[in-house]
Symmetry: C2
DNA sequence: TCCATCCTCTGGACTAGTTCAGTGAGTTCA
DNA sequence: TGAACTCACTGAACTAGTCCAGAGGATGGA
């Protein structure tokens, strides 16, 4: 978390190696034990230094697998209901989507509140994982209000939902509203993203409206914090 | 950072106390040493538990002063060039601004790049600290392109710069562009915010354009990550 | 060939301390 | 009265280990 006052080298050495591309994106760092030997310090100090580089967004960890060099951040504009795959490939990266789970349930109170539902309503919950260049970076949970989307669960849900909304249901998003907040990863998210429970993620909650101004769905995104940068230009939606 | 597997109580107890308002916003927690006695564990475990609550946004620390309960987050829309004081008081909180430093320099390359300056240009750098309910939460650095703002340094710079732009220079922001990224606090920012160097902050870089579409200034904001929540509604600027 | 089992390597979580440096209240003294 | 000094208390940073659990490759038997 903080600096190695006595041994300010380790953090700086690794940082230089990363900026100097002696360590390449996605490359694995030596293990914590090896590093503590190399820099003749304790594993706790090594962990602190690695955590510091992690909060700088230079490296990331995978639970019980090791530490790796972070690739450049993706620029993401949550206002433009742009297709994930398109956004990623425009930035010369490779996107994949994996469907984890689908369920249809009665909206529990927290979801009902976000969706402004006043009565018991059926919602579809779609959980997906998104990969960039083969690395898991995003856990997404979509909550669709059931009656707006008859039969959607039979479609291919690894494609863009926005596109599906448009093509199958003729919905264009007239308005969307979102919150960005640094948060701790809930257990199920942490597991899916290969991080340890309670680690920091960037959480984005989005609510979408159709042409009639009705809320049709909401979305909870949990990003690995080193993978993304929110980037918004007002000119794009004036 | 992680959980106390053996003693899962401490984190949960503190969380409950906070949600149950047995510990109130801005209230100081017992010292790390006291907590390690109370929960009969080591200071390292205490620190881990506290760090975990910190990444949840429930508590914050002040360097060598202690740990405190976080007040509710402020909702902030960086697109609406709204006055800071107005935004805070609309949320029933009290805002203050403190001027730290003013300087007029030739734009160094990193600033020149953001401001898209092709030649040597004079800029005014205004550093300010913002308080909410008496707590430092935000360090702001404004970089104004000199020739757009003759004589601005003689004005009262603890007020809203946006307002000053409008009233004195008849600038209305026609467009603004910003990036949000979780980052580590640079040393001078950490010191001003009373956090330790390298701790996590939410960094927002904003670039503003005048009516003619020229870049007139940019701004670097460093927020204590538990104090804020980015909240944007597309309807407000369609 | 395929699947289960084992074994090694990883980070996660912990114990039990020490030393350092900034904060801030309280005291001293011109 | 007010500025300078002292000192207890705080988190920051560190040493030196142990034990645990998941990941994933190697092994070996059906």
């Amino acid at each position: 978390m903080r600096k190695n006052a006595d041994n300010p080298k380790m953090k700086d050495v690794l940082r230089e190696q990363i900026f100097g591309r002696a360590l390449l994106p996605l490359q694995k760092l030596p293990s914590e034990r090896e590093l503590s030997d190399l820099f003749s310090t304790t594993r706790i100090s090594v962990k602190d230094a690695l955590s510091a580089l992690e909060t700088e967004g230079l490296i990331y960890r995978e639970d019980r697998r090791g530490w790796f060099v972070s690739p450049p951040r993706i620029r993401y504009n949550p206002l433009s209901r742009c297709h994930f795959n398109q956004m990623i490939s425009e930035q010369d990266r490779i996107a994949e989507t994996q469907l984890i789970n689908i369920s249809t349930i009665m909206a529990p109170s927290d979801y009902a509140k976000v969706l402004e539902l006043r009565e018991l309503t059926e919602i579809h919950v779609i959980e997906r994982l998104r990969y960039i260049d083969g690395r898991v970076v995003l856990f997404v949970e979509n909550c669709l209000i059931g009656h707006f989307f008859p039969g959607i669960l039979e479609e291919n849900l690894t494609q863009s939902l926005t596109q599906l909304y448009q093509e199958k249901f003729k919905f264009t998003t007239s308005r969307s509203r979102f919150d960005v907040v640094p948060a701790a990863a809930p257990a199920h998210v942490a597991k899916a993203l290969n991080i340890s429970a309670g680690q920091q993620v960037l959480k984005i909650c989005r609510v979408n409206y159709n042409q009639q101004g009705q809320i049709i769905d909401c979305e909870f995104e949990y990003w690995r914090p080193d993978a993304v940068m929110i980037s918004i230009d007002s000119i794009e939606h004036i």
